[in-house]
Every structure is written in structure tokens, then in C-alpha cells.
């Protein structure tokens, strides 16, 4: 099985108190529309670069969104003043580290570890 045929995992900081999210809710988080977790605490979103294979795979397979749509929405947000873009990290290791250390953080990885919470997308 090639690495690209398995789904990536949605990961969150252990402070996040949910185990699953609908695909629609996950899309609203990664398009920076939903800003808070159900308990009201702020969400902090981490992504890899647009060209990263894991980013493309997560967008298409887990979120069912073309990566160019995410880029278009983030660009509109930051250059028209209507919102924010996620924080970009360079590697999967940095992603896991960032999600493990920032309260309210969400991101994705091929494989999480004990320091992050795995969230199911339904």
C-alpha cells in the first residue's frame, strides 16, 4: 500500500475535549470560519505548505476539499482583512510538536503520537 492511499490523521492538543468531528465541522475549522471549540476556547490551526503531499492528501481525502480552495479562502481572509490564515510549519515533526504544545491546537499527521489527541472525522 503506498503512503498516499492511507488517510492522514486529524490531531489536536490534549486540551481539546472531543474525540470526533463531522467533516463539515473540520472544513469550517481549516477554512478559518469556526474560531472556537464547543467549550468556547479558541482554535489554533496548523498546516503544512500548499505543495506538501501530506497537506494535499489531508485536504482531499479527509476534508474533501481541493487545496486551492483552502488557499483561496486564506488569501481572501488575510488580504481583505476578513479573517486569518493558519500557521504554516515546514515538516510533519514540527506539526506534531506544535499541536502537542499549543492549547486548542489542531493539525494533521500521517501518524500521531502519545502527546497529541487523535480525532475521528465522520
Amino acid at each position: 500500500m503506498s503512503p498516499l492511499s492511507q488517510a492522514a490523521e486529524l490531531i489536536a492538543n490534549p486540551s481539546v475535549s472531543i474525540d470526533s468531528l463531522s467533516a463539515s465541522s473540520a472544513r469550517n475549522i481549516f477554512t478559518m470560519r469556526s474560531k472556537n471549540w464547543p467549550d468556547g476556547s479558541p482554535i489554533k490551526v496548523f498546516v503544512l505548505h500548499d505543495e506538501n503531499p501530506l497537506h494535499k492528501q489531508f485536504s482531499k481525502t479527509n476534508l474533501h476539499v481541493f487545496p486551492y480552495k483552502l488557499r483561496r479562502i486564506w488569501d481572501r481572509n488575510i488580504y481583505s482583512g476578513t479573517g486569518n490564515a493558519p500557521t504554516t510549519v515546514d515538516t510533519e515533526e514540527e506539526m506534531i510538536e506544535a499541536v502537542a504544545t499549543h492549547p486548542g491546537a489542531i493539525g494533521y499527521a500521517n501518524k500521531g503520537n502519545d502527546y497529541v489527541r487523535i480525532i475521528n472525522i465522520y
Partner: protein, 401 residues
């Protein structure tokens, strides 16, 4: 941030927005962790234009062409308390003889008063970009445009009018199983410095000037879940008044624009088709004996096809048409002070885009144009010296962070 916002202007209701933002910012009931959510981004692009005749963004018809289009900007955004965000962007833009200016592009307080997993609703106060068609909100940011310069529905002569609103915006965004529905409504004063628009209306630079009056515009949009389909309907109603100068031919006239845009985009595999149609009713009244009341309707549309050769290389082609008065498409009914070709602009364009990294972009385009309705007056002071048929070769290098 409070200090930055006061730069935008002296109008009272903007000050009210600033004061309320400062008050919310110092309210002790909330925790204060601004640095964690502080964002800074920017962009810069440089265009090159070479034309067979007629000038665009400087002396493009001279042998070496012109580097007369430079656009740069930097913006900040931070969230002092949950659901309140402050954001501002400064832009420097040089566009040939038309303008060279640094301005506050937007400076706003954004209050999201409903924010759950499927619905966001809120108010923005301050200077807000105008949601109009697919591209007006970010019209100075090369990475967000479909080509080096925007199609004619984003009419350059009225760009200062439509850039932003000083006032308020109500917005809502609803997630459905088939995608998102978004709605924005702006109310307030549109932009000023309307010299190009004044000449477009009066056909020469008269002693007076145009002043804007409270106006409104709105947009409703749909985007499918995957992002492959986008639809939008935009509507605007702009009022202006002509203030006569000393020894003016014209009385104090009233100008009203009623404008709508239909926008559609769909992606089929590697091919994306985008089309937008604009119709604008222009009402000119009370200018006096030398300018009888008239109400022409402007029509403009384009269809663009993009082909993605690879994730880094894209080719595109476009047909674009603009008719200032739909009952005088070919300019056969005479227009005082202007050549017939000033009534329209029809063009074919081919372009190529290369994105070597997510921060850089290089584009090259070739346009064949029939008509001069899209030319600026500042770059072409004598429109009778222009040519009806002309070609444009252009390049643009862009960077962002």
C-alpha cells in the same frame, strides 16, 4: 492599534468605531493574550507593459515599454479578546500617470457575534473592502487575480470609488451539506479621488470635482464543498454629487450608479471556466444646459478558461468585452470630445503562469484589443491620438509572505 485606526480619516462614525474598539480592548472581563494570535502578511508585485500603440500604466508604447505598475502591501491582524479581531493593511501602488499613492487599504474591527460550527455572523466597522464580483476585495494582490490585470468589469476608471467603504459591514456565513452560503452587506462612504471617473463622465477635466455620498452594496455567494463550483450575485448603489468649480460650465450635478454582477466558476479536472457579467445603470442629472440628463447602461462581461499543465504551470485564455453604453456599442452615435473607439473595448488574451514556490509567481500575457474604453485619461491625455486596434505584451513578478 487604536492609534493606527485614527489614520484612516476624521469622519465621526469611524472615530466611534475606534473608541468602541479601544473600550472593548481594555475591558478587564476578558483574558488578554494578543501575541499568540498576532499575524503579519504582505505582498509585492512588479508589472511590465509593452504596447503597439496607446499607453497603459505609463509610456508602454515607447520602445522599451514601462515598469509602471508596482503594488505592495503589508497587513496585521490580531484578536485581543475572543470573537473580536482588529486588522489593518497599508498599500503602496504606482499605476503609470494615474496614481502613485500610499493608503490605508483597510482598518477594521471585526466582531463575530454568532460563531458556532455551522454559522458565523458578525459586524465589521471601519474601512472595509468592497465585496464585488470574485476579485474586487483583493484587486491589488496579484496572487488573487486571474491574470496580470483584471478584466473590464473591474473598470479601472472607477477603481477609487469601489475599493472600500468607510462604514459598516454585516456578514454571515452558513455551512450546508452541499457547501457554503455567504452574505455581506456594506453601508457607508465609498472612496474618493474620483478624477478618472469625472473625466469619464464629463469627457474632460472640468474645474469642479465629484464627491461621494452614502452608498451601499452587497454580495451573496455560494461555494461547493470541494471548491470546484462558485457562484455569486453582487449589487451596488452608489451616489455622488458634482461640485462645480470657478467658471464651470456645469451646475451641481447628481450621479447615481446601480450595478449588478453575476459571477460563476466551475472546475472540470484540469480546466477551470470563469465568467462574470456586469450591468450598470448610470444616471446623470442636473448638470445644467451643457450636459442634458442622460442614463446610459454599461455592459461588460468576460469568459476565461484556465488549464493546469502541472501544479506549478497554468495557461489561460480570455475574451473580454466592455460597452459603455449598450445602445451605442460601436460608437456610431457620436460622443462629444471623444473618438468612436472610446465607446467600447473588446479583447482576446493568452497567458501563462508559473509558480516556482508558494511565495513567488511569474506571469506573461499577450492581449489583442479593439477599442479604447479601458484606457486611462492620465496616460492618454489626447484620446484622438490613440489607435483603435492595439496589442499588449505584459509580464509580472509577484512575491508574498
Amino acid at each position: 492599534m487604536c492609534v493606527l485606526l485614527t489614520f484612516i480619516n476624521h469622519r465621526r462614525w469611524v472615530l466611534a468605531a475606534i473608541i468602541s474598539s479601544c473600550l472593548i480592548g481594555i475591558s478587564p472581563a476578558y483574558s488578554f493574550e494578543p501575541l499568540d494570535d498576532f499575524q503579519i502578511h504582505g505582498f509585492a508585485s512588479q508589472g511590465y507593459f509593452l504596447t503597439s500603440a496607446n499607453n497603459t500604466y505609463g509610456e508602454s508604447s515607447k520602445q522599451r515599454g514601462t515598469l509602471g505598475l508596482t503594488e505592495t502591501g503589508i497587513n496585521i491582524s490580531f484578536t485581543p479578546v475572543n470573537n473580536i479581531r482588529l486588522a489593518a493593511q497599508g498599500v503602496y501602488r504606482h499605476a503609470g500617470e494615474v496614481s502613485e499613492e500610499a493608503r490605508i487599504d483597510y482598518a477594521l474591527l471585526d466582531w463575530t457575534f454568532i460563531n458556532n460550527q455551522s454559522l458565523q455572523m458578525g459586524l465589521r466597522l471601519g474601512r472595509i473592502k468592497n465585496p464585488f464580483g470574485f476579485y474586487n476585495e483583493t484587486r491589488d494582490v496579484a496572487f488573487t487575480r486571474p491574470s496580470i490585470t483584471l478584466p473590464s468589469i473591474y473598470y479601472e476608471r472607477s477603481r477609487n470609488l469601489v475599493l472600500s467603504t468607510d462604514g459598516a459591514q454585516f456578514y454571515a456565513d452558513k455551512a450546508l451539506s452541499i457547501g457554503n452560503i455567504s452574505f455581506q452587506f456594506n453601508f457607508g462612504e465609498l472612496g474618493d479621488d474620483l478624477k478618472e471617473l469625472e473625466i469619464a463622465i464629463l469627457t474632460f477635466d472640468a474645474p469642479g470635482h465629484l464627491e461621494n455620498k452614502p452608498s451601499y452594496l452587497g454580495k451573496i455567494g455560494y461555494e461547493s464543498t470541494s471548491g470546484a463550483t462558485r457562484l455569486a450575485f453582487s449589487y451596488g448603489n452608489a451616489d455622488m454629487e458634482y461640485k462645480p468649480g470657478q467658471g464651470d460650465f456645469f451646475d451641481s450635478g447628481d450621479v447615481n450608479f446601480k450595478q449588478f454582477i453575476l459571477s460563476a466558476q466551475h472546475r472540470f479536472g484540469h480546466i477551470t471556466l470563469t465568467g462574470e457579467y456586469l450591468r450598470q445603470e448610470n444616471i446623470f442629472e442636473n448638470f445644467g444646459l451643457f450636459y442634458p440628463d442622460v442614463s446610459p447602461t454599461t455592459e461588460s462581461y468576460y469568459l476565461q478558461g484556465d488549464y493546469q499543465f502541472s501544479s506549478r504551470i497554468k495557461g489561460y485564455a480570455r475574451y473580454d468585452a466592455l460597452f459603455l453604453d449598450k445602445n451605442n456599442r460601436d460608437g456610431k452615435k457620436s460622443i462629444p470630445n471623444l473618438p468612436r473607439s472610446a465607446a467600447f473595448a473588446k479583447s482576446y488574451m493568452l497567458g501563462l503562469q508559473w509558480v516556482p514556490s508558494h511565495q513567488w509567481q511569474l506571469q506573461a500575457e499577450y492581449h489583442r484589443v479593439n477599442g479604447i474604453a479601458s484606457l486611462s485619461f492620465a496616460d492618454n491625455p489626447d484620446l484622438f491620438a490613440t489607435k483603435q486596434h492595439w496589442n499588449v505584451f505584459s509580464l509580472q513578478l509577484s512575491y508574498r509572505f
